[in-house]
């Protein structure tokens, strides 16, 4: 082999190593599969400091030792983790001052989903950190936030510009080896949001992020970290939709929330990943670890979620009520239709004295879907005077779907009070006929029944979000009766 040939070869190899992935229009992909090299590659690609790489590698090594969990009520073909692309990003990260600079194709997609950035910006004063695939392409309202000392940026930026905060808190609520998917996420997380609200500051607007999966076969691994310092308040909205896909897509996000003394975090999610086609093919596998730590006394963390998407959802937003008098809340609507399977619920871990938790779970099952609620209320020995109230309601549409409720209780303190209520109802033909006989068509009837059923949860969503969520519920239950 001649020198020139060697040179060319080397150049090609290096180039491949450096950029070398299938470059598809504006996308850039990592090669399929997961190895230490890929972890290093992702970290290098994101120009991360050494400590971050080490943290990722530690997670990767833990992950290698772990085995994928299996659950009684969720069934799916084995995920081949070596068939997944772990990194996909717009080729050049654009520096944008206005929406005009955003790829019009991206804007069009958002508009199709009813999420017009323009509208959002103008009407609601919502600051957005839009994640398109894995890298942020748009951040707005930074100025207003900056004045208050609020940090709200992509996780990548936070690692670069607020490394000390990230280093201090990342993994403190969801440790790297917490579970199989959390370990995977810790090793390969692509991006996500970071938010820090300083002492005594009330965040003046709803912080919002729209997530979207856009490249076929690329796993999406979001990492979100929210910190509310003493007396701070923040309401955070997370919403996502995904376009139709034939391949299963793995989504394994981690969300960590930390609330110090007297702080309050409201975290609202509208989740609408692609659920698969009418025969149950395709669809997103959504394995999420969301956990909030009420670290300080009298702190409060509230999860509200409306889940309509995914082929499979496995998700238990939880609260660790460590501070005395702290409060954890979980309001959830989970809709399953077609062949969807959802295993969702929450864990409320009472550690501090006089801690309170409230769980309101509304499960709607249609088609041939299976919808399970799994909740754990754990009251530690020292959690004097703690209280929990749980309400789990199921609504069935048709005869081929299933609803299951698994409430687990571990109470180690005699002064604690725990209450659980559950109901199951069914939308039957007679009920629908009653509506129709009053001039209300079937689809409107279903929407009205469902909205009534979910009202208590919807009332906890911020206004604009509730409107969107309502629309989503209607769309996802379209044609499911009759």
């Amino acid at each position: 082999m001649s020198n020139t040939q060697d040179d060319i070869l080397e150049e090609v190899v290096n180039a491949d190593y450096k950029y070398g992935f299938v470059t598809d229009i504006e996308q850039e992909f990592a090669p399929k599969g997961l190895s230490e090299d890929i972890v290093r590659f992702i970290s290098a690609k994101k120009e991360e400091p050494e400590w971050m790489l080490e943290w990722r590698l530690k997670a990767f090594r833990e992950w290698q030792k772990m085995t994928e969990p299996h659950w009684a009520n969720v069934h799916f073909p084995k995920v081949d983790f070596q068939e997944i692309i772990y990194y996909a990003a717009p080729k050049v990260k654009p520096q944008l001052d206005s929406l005009d600079q955003v790829d019009p194709e991206i804007l069009k997609t958002f508009e199709k989903l009813g999420i017009s950035l323009d509208e959002q910006k103008r009407l609601s004063g919502v600051a957005m950190d839009v994640v398109f695939d894995s890298v942020s392409v748009k951040t707005t309202f930074q100025e207003t936030l900056k004045e208050k000392g609020i940090i709200f940026c992509s996780m990548s930026d936070a690692i670069k510009n607020h490394g000390e905060l990230v280093k201090k808190y990342i993994g403190t609520v969801v440790p790297q080896k917490d579970n199989f998917y959390a370990a995977l996420n810790s090793a390969v997380f692509s991006d996500g949001s970071f938010c820090y609200i300083p002492k005594g500051v009330r965040c003046p607007m709803e912080l919002s992020t729209y997530f979207r999966i856009n490249s076929a076969g690329s796993g999406q691994f979001e990492r979100t970290l929210l910190i509310a310092d003493e007396g701070a308040y923040v309401s955070y909205l997370e919403g996502c939709t995904a376009p139709q896909r034939d391949e299963n897509q793995l989504h394994a996000a981690v969300v960590e929330l930390i609330a110090f003394d007297n702080a309050e975090i409201k975290y609202s999610t509208v989740q609408n990943w692609y659920p698969g086609n009418k025969d149950g093919v395709g669809g997103v596998y959504n394995f999420v670890t969301k956990r909030g730590m009420c670290k300080g006394n009298s702190s409060k963390i509230s999860w509200t979620q409306v889940e309509t998407g995914s082929a499979i959802t496995w998700k238990y937003p939880s609260c660790i009520l460590a501070g005395d008098n702290s409060i954890g809340e979980f309001y959830s609507v989970a809709v399953t239709n077609g062949f969807q399977q959802a295993d969702t619920g929450t864990k409320m871990i009472h550690i501090g004295k006089n801690t309170k938790s409230r769980i309101v779970s509304k499960g709607i099952s249609a088609g041939k879907s299976q919808n399970s609620y799994r909740g754990l209320v754990k009251i530690h020995k020292k959690a004097e005077g703690s209280r929990n109230f749980s309400q789990c309601d199921s609504l069935l549409m048709g005869d081929q779907c299933g609803a299951h409720t698994f409430p687990y209780l571990e109470v180690s303190n005699k002064t604690a009070k725990v209450e659980h209520e559950a109901t199951t109802s069914k939308i039957g033909e007679d009920m629908l006929f009653y509506f129709q006989q009053r001039g209300i068509d079937e689809e409107t009837a279903v929407a009205m029944i469902v909205n009534g059923f979910c009202k208590e949860v919807m009332d906890h969503l911020p206004m604009e979000f509730a409107v969107e969520a309502k629309k989503l519920l209607e769309v996802s239950l379209e044609g499911s009766v009759g």
Partner: protein
């Protein structure tokens, strides 16, 4: 207004209505009486467009239009109302919301704008008075936890709100106490105009003391076997249905 011609209806292959015919004109009140299981509720359901009935032959015209080609909600929007024998409970949907949707769907079908909230409230109050409904009821879920009598009263209240052209009352009197019966009957009489019509299905002559029918039909084994005036009801009360058994 309504013409039912030689209607044959089966459920799961079993014939229930066996050549039912009836003609109703504006302003008329028709009572239908007949033993249990003879097909009275089936008739109401078929008129209202419920699924699950096989119409094997016959014709139904409503203001000249083929009723059988319309969806249930379209029939309702065109002014056909069924007061159910067994009203359904709808958890989570308030009476106010339910009726607002119903009123607005009807208005939409007529090309009208949705009703203004103030106007709707006023109308609710007015019509509630008509059937002496309790006030707290507006915000309660439709029929949920209502007593049997309250449910029936709610049917009449809904009818008053929707002001139908043709109302079918399926045993609205069953389960009502004396006072409630009078209230419901008064409601119906106040709503009765020369422009609308009623089919009153009942087992008891006493309802017809309050709501005076123009015609009384005896239904037996899936069809009308005798038609008369209100005196026929008295006769039935005295003699029962045995006389038709041989027919």
């Amino acid at each position: 207004m309504l013409q039912i011609k030689n209607l044959h209806v089966s459920i799961d292959g079993r014939e229930i209505l066996k050549g039912f015919s009836l003609e109703i004109n504006k302003g008329e009140i028709h009572a239908i009486m007949g033993p249990n299981g003879t097909g009275k509720s089936t008739l109401g359901n078929v008129l209202a467009g419920k699924d699950g009935y096989e119409i094997t032959s016959g014709e139904i015209l409503f203001n000249g239009e083929n009723l059988l080609e319309l969806e249930a909600h379209e029939r309702a929007q065109k002014g056909l109302f069924l007061a159910f024998q067994y009203p359904v409970e709808i958890p989570g949907v308030s009476n106010a919301n339910f009726l607002k949707a119903a009123v607005n769907e009807q208005r939409k079908a007529m090309g009208l704008e949705p009703i203004a909230p103030g106007e709707f409230l006023k109308m609710m109050r007015e019509k509630m008075e008509l059937v002496e409904m309790k006030k707290d009821f507006i915000s309660r879920s439709v029929n949920q936890g209502f007593s049997g009598g309250e449910k029936k009263r709610n049917e009449i209240f809904q009818m008053a709100m929707l002001n139908p052209q043709l109302a079918i009352l399926d045993e609205t009197d069953s389960g009502l106490d004396i006072d409630a019966l009078r209230i419901v009957a008064n409601g119906v009489n106040k709503l009765h105009t020369p422009e609308n019509a009623f089919i009153v299905i009942t087992h008891y002559q006493r309802l017809l003391d309050y709501i005076v029918p123009d015609f009384v039909h005896v239904m037996f084994d899936g069809k009308i076997v005798k038609t008369g005036d209100k005196n026929l009801a008295l006769e039935l009360e005295a003699k029962g249905y045995e006389q038709f058994e041989l027919a």
